[in-house]
Subunit: 141 residues, 2 copies
DNA sequence: GTTGGTGCAAAGTGTTTGCACTCTG
DNA sequence: CAGAGTGCAAACACTTTGCACCAAC
């Protein structure tokens, strides 16, 4: 369908059908995707696309600042469209669900840390792990 | 030398020389190590130790809660002895230096997030990226 | 003595790369 | 129509596993 979300800046890069498709899929998706999931979804629309193309474009999007790469505890990475607002992640160790949250405290922490360490902080990432309401029960200790 | 740091809980697990050596190295080291670095250091004292043994024991230590596994942007993992006090990481994108810090704000954030999401948070990890004092200068924009 | 742990080599992941072909600009 | 981008297969880096032997309990 090639939703053409009025795609942003592929500045100077060629807009191939594969590239546009991948970017659309990422922008449309409101969670995170790993390379393989993205590959699977892309293949539904363009069956000949290759996994290398997925990786190459993810790398490009990252360089262009269009997506963020997330490193959870798994061996592979997750990618998400660069958020307009900064948000963080709360991961349920029971069911794997990922909740995104924001907190004004991160901003305060950032300025505190910058001051104390004489650093310029360009990015903050908070990750909490635990058990969601449902998994708490089944996980009674 | 087998510094015998009065090693903690290998509860029920066999205390092989390799295992004790690895644990010592991790406990003595006040940074993070990746598997390969640990392997290299271990080999200095026990030249026949194998990389599989390193991995198997890192996995074990993790399960026993003796070390934490860190996921930076690299393809491989870093491990550090479980800290008595929770701390976080500030990574310089210029020189790669990693500074550890603590902040009372993380505790507050944790309770806020738990409350708001009906979650039991068991671990919090804050990672900030930016440029240290020295690298800021060379990185003038 | 059992059997958990080891070293080795071989297999598995997730990711990257060399090459010849294709299509965008 | 030049060269950026692609598909494919082969190469990579890191991690795990099967097996026969060894040593901790």
């Amino acid at each position: 369908m090639r939703t053409s979300t009025g795609q942003p800046a592929l500045t100077g890069k060629r807009a191939t059908s594969q590239r546009r498709l991948l970017l659309d899929l990422i922008l449309q998706n409101e969670g995170h995707l790993d390379a393989d999931e993205l590959y699977r979804r892309a293949r539904e629309q363009e069956s000949t696309i290759s996994l290398s193309t997925v990786y190459r474009n993810l790398k490009l999007f990252k360089e262009l600042g269009l997506v963020d790469e997330l490193h959870f505890a798994e061996a592979h990475h997750h990618y998400e469209a660069k958020a307009p607002a900064q948000h963080h992640h709360l991961v349920c160790l029971g069911c794997g669900k990922v909740i995104e949250f924001t907190s004004p405290l991160t901003e305060r922490m950032k300025s505190q840390i910058q001051r104390e360490n004489d650093f310029t902080v360009t990015g903050t990432e908070v990750r909490m792990k635990g058990y969601c309401a449902r998994c708490q029960t089944s996980h009674t200790e």
